[in-house]
Homo-oligomer: 101 residues x 5
Amino acid sequence: MIICKVVGHVWATKKEESLVGQKLMVVREMDGAGQLKEAQFVAADAVGAGVGEHVLVVEGSTARIAAGGNHLPVDCAIVGIIDTLEVEREREVNRSDTPGE
Amino acid sequence: MIICKVVGHVWATKKEESLVGQKLMVVREMDGAGQLKEAQFVAADAVGAGVGEHVLVVEGSTARIAAGGNHLPVDCAIVGIIDTLEVEREREVNRSDTPGE
Amino acid sequence: MIICKVVGHVWATKKEESLVGQKLMVVREMDGAGQLKEAQFVAADAVGAGVGEHVLVVEGSTARIAAGGNHLPVDCAIVGIIDTLEVEREREVNRSDTPGE
Amino acid sequence: MIICKVVGHVWATKKEESLVGQKLMVVREMDGAGQLKEAQFVAADAVGAGVGEHVLVVEGSTARIAAGGNHLPVDCAIVGIIDTLEVEREREVNRSDTPGE
Amino acid sequence: MIICKVVGHVWATKKEESLVGQKLMVVREMDGAGQLKEAQFVAADAVGAGVGEHVLVVEGSTARIAAGGNHLPVDCAIVGIIDTLEVEREREVNRSDTPGE
């Protein structure tokens, strides 16, 4: 899974019939430094997430399973709302930062 | 799904037999800032999209399902035409932008 | 699918048995500006493509279907030779290009 | 598989029912130079890994198999704890580094 | 498939049971210019490849098929050892290189 923030909604009247009834949220991935990446995804919401929440998102064939069935034209789905994220930041050595002496 | 803009068509006379009858559109992904990315995809159109429209695109095995069957050699498909996209832009802190003061 | 240009061939004597008889071509992806990307793929050719031609390429599990069977160890396949590509280039606003005035 | 370092945990009370009981770890990919990439993933842990350990991570449909069943909404899983990594670094020629002399 | 160079081995005592007996090699992808990318993968070896050899690597669900069974927690596998790679390099126009005159 990736960690994303829900940033909005998307509406599509004209769509695959089997998408009717799926709540579609716009999410953006959060990197290890807590920054949102520029890329955005549209995810089917299986857990009742709201805008502003941090969520767990699955991609690919797994998203169909999460969204409720292998026949669904869905490749991205929200499977959990994050309560706590506990991450150890290690000191990273960047090779373009030549340490002085 | 990703959010794309339909930017063109592609024609291929010599192709896999099972692709005959599939309408193939060229799409480009739109990022969170509303910019089109340089990468382009060719997607089977399952919903009657036109050039200039913003659409929902699925990838991978899900595209076969959307395009009408697991036997189709399709890994990208348009599954919805976007009416409204409502996204909250958060103030992003860019680490290379050292705030003056 | 992605749009690629066929740039070469690859030969492998020692390989998975089920790959015997598959014609393996080296392809490089073309972006929206008509530039080839640096990354290259090796694709099974299902349509008789030649070096220099622009082709439609599928990836992932779809490539197995295109190459002739779900048992094949293939994750990239050429499924069409492009005759015509008709794409609308939109004027893109690059955020680092601050428009004068 | 990719080589990752386990950097933390994630807790989600509200989640897909079938995720209950899965231990979810935050991992970051290690590149060929031993650096952690900025992107992070959440992986189901199938082998009892701890924070700080280097692990083998599978993605996609393979992660469901590793996590214990095709019905699980999991697309990333830890399948091994690395004891030894023996890698030959070749001298790489970087095209932007014009060798002096 | 992608073209990779085998650069090392990885050992993991504690791992998924079904991984026992799989030879796990560290590989790095080669781009169109013959450079190794920084990213590395761990691939199950189905053909007896050695360190220093250039190989064909499959990813995703296809790797399970190559490694010997759909139940294997493997998402990357070596399926061929490259004898010859014959690639046509085209003169690429880089848009940031403004041609003099």
